[in-house]
């Protein structure tokens, strides 16, 4: 369990591929389009083409596939769970297998595989974007995309700021929880054995210091930000002005085109 200092889910890996260089806004827009397409696709062949497009993009990003698979691991449980649920509880069509009251039927297998594929494609596409976009660019992209919603009083800047700070502090807090865990273990605390209630109670020595520390940090950070003249999003400028290039337009349009083509083949 140790050594989780700098790995967080979907941790950005710097690089210089086309995907890395695309403007985050273009990438996020592309991602939204692809997600929409995923929900419109109705056939397995549609998924096949989508998968092909993903593989091409993935190869062009030059990410190490091992590292990519690692990021995927936690999600696999959810995927597996979905699959099982559908297999067991969606009824209809031919019965493939029977064991007492349990049956696996045609519709279940079909729907289960379909949903699982959709989920997997959704996750890997998103992961590909987060792995190739620096957190700060990501937050900027979100802030930009939320801008139209300002008429509905959606605080775009604040949301983006919160995201940045969360991303900044996740590694710090993980390190901290690791340290507190070890400090209490050095006093004989036991986090591994016992039934679920016991274990939950045993977490108190971990959670109390962690909350205290998170609040202390939040307080320190607020003071530090205030002393550096932070006063919300108004009148604020940005060092990095995002320059939209031809490449970005091209990226968004191709994605649009490909997504539309894939969806149409399946209709």
């Amino acid at each position: 369990m140790s050594g989780m200092r700098s790995i967080t889910l979907g941790h950005y890996l710097p690089g210089n591929s086309i995907l890395h260089r695309l403007d985050p806004r273009a990438k996020l827009m592309g991602l939204l389009i692809l997600i929409a397409a995923l929900f419109l696709i109705k056939t397995f062949s549609g998924f096949f083409y989508f998968g092909l497009f993903f593989v091409l993009t993935f190869v062009s990003s030059r990410l190490p596939w091992r590292y990519f698979m690692r990021g995927l691991k936690p999600v696999l449980y959810i995927v597996f769970f979905t699959l099982i649920l559908h297999f067991l509880f969606t009824k209809g069509g031919q019965v493939f297998w029977r064991f007492g009251p349990l049956t696996i039927e045609e519709n279940g297998v079909f729907l289960g595989s379909f949903m699982t594929l959709r989920l997997i494609l959704l996750v890997i596409t998103t992961l590909l974007v987060t792995l190739t976009t620096s957190p700060i660019a990501f937050a900027d992209g979100i802030e930009f995309l939320l801008r139209p919603l300002r008429v509905f009083r959606v605080p775009g800047h604040e949301i983006a700021m919160m995201m940045t700070i969360a991303l900044r502090f996740i590694p710090t807090l993980m390190e901290e929880s690791d340290k507190i865990r070890k400090a209490q273990m050095a006093r004989g605390a036991d986090f591994e054995s016992g039934n679920i209630f016991r274990r939950a109670r045993n977490l108190v020595p971990l959670l109390v210091p962690l909350f205290v520390s998170a609040f202390r940090r939040a307080d320190d950070l607020a003071v530090a930000m205030e002393s550096r003249c932070y006063r919300g999003g108004d009148n604020r400028t940005k060092m990095r002005q995002q320059q939209v290039t031809c490449l970005d337009y091209l990226g968004v349009f191709t994605t649009c085109g490909i997504a539309a083509a894939i969806v149409l083949t399946g209709v």
């Binding site: 991303l167 950070l221 530090a224 930000m225 400028t237």
Partner: protein, 277 residues
């Protein structure tokens, strides 16, 4: 008071401790800091050093008395942002003052808040990083830097705002000797070369030897102040103030007591070696 950049007049401050109880953290503190001066602030835990530091850029406002920065009164709302630009604060824990996820973005943070044009921000960020010797790490994630490097990033973030005065609250407390040397060298370079006024709070007596003036605080009051040679001449009872003598002045005092007339302004190894040889 024409050339004093910071002036506090009978400054008092009280924390409320829930209910009716209050705690007087600053008690009639009056002091003046001259433009370009290097001041060290020392005193035992809880003597009010951090509280005083937070008054210097309007993070806290006096309960009684006044604080002037460059002639501007910190109590006046309309001066607040200008005061924070002119007096920059660096804190003890570098982890809790870095906002952004890359070094460069973090240094830009203050400038962005001031609404400065992006090309100017980029130039100043670059300059500030060069000044603290961190240009090569501009794209790094802060949590992968060493403590000394993080602290220099924090200093760069303040320097980029071109403050007149830099207030550092125990900037070296969490660092190793190399990190401490790096940060101290950066501070004294900024003071000498860039003429930035420095207020440096520390528990390491060795770090105060280069200062123009040392101010000793005790229970919310200024206990005494003077040049390092005066403070560490051995005549003051620093012990009762929770302080220690730095190694060489302590030795010099012991030698004087043993009958060897070492001059009272002997502060470092070289001076003592020269005297003895």
């Amino acid at each position: 008071m024409s050339n004093s950049i910071i002036e506090t007049v009978q400054l008092c401050y009280e924390y409320t401790l829930g209910g009716e109880k209050t705690l007087r953290a600053l008690d009639n503190v009056s002091l003046q800091i001259t433009e370009g001066e290097y001041v060290c602030l020392i005193g035992p835990n809880g003597s009010g050093k951090s509280t005083l530091a937070r008054h210097l850029n309007a993070l806290l406002l006096p309960a009684a008395g006044d604080v002037y920065v460059d002639g501007l009164l910190t109590g006046e709302e309309k001066h607040r942002w200008e005061i924070r630009r002119r007096v920059g604060l660096v804190f003890q824990n570098p982890d809790n003052q870095i906002v952004a996820t890359t070094v460069e973005e973090d240094v830009a943070f203050g400038l962005e808040n001031m609404g400065i044009d992006p090309p100017v921000i980029r130039r100043r960020v670059k300059e500030a990083l060069e000044l603290v010797g961190m240009s090569t790490l501009a794209q790094h994630a802060p949590h992968l830097l060493s403590g000394g490097q993080k602290q220099r990033v924090a200093i760069a973030g303040i320097i980029a705002m071109r403050p007149r005065c830099l207030v550092l609250d125990e900037p070296t407390a969490m660092l190793d000797p190399r990190g401490r040397r790096e940060v101290l060298a950066t501070i004294s370079m900024l003071n000498r070369q860039e003429k930035v006024t420095v207020v440096h709070i520390t528990h390491f007596m060795e770090e105060t030897l280069e200062a123009d003036r040392i101010i000793v605080m005790d229970r919310g009051k200024i206990a005494c102040s003077g040049t390092p040679a005066e403070i560490f001449s051995g005549e003051l009872d620093l012990e009762s103030l929770g302080m220690d003598m730095p190694a060489i002045p302590a030795l010099a005092r012991a030698l004087r007591e043993g009958g060897l007339p070492v001059p009272p302004n002997t502060l470092d190894v070289d001076q003592l070696v020269d005297y003895l040889c």
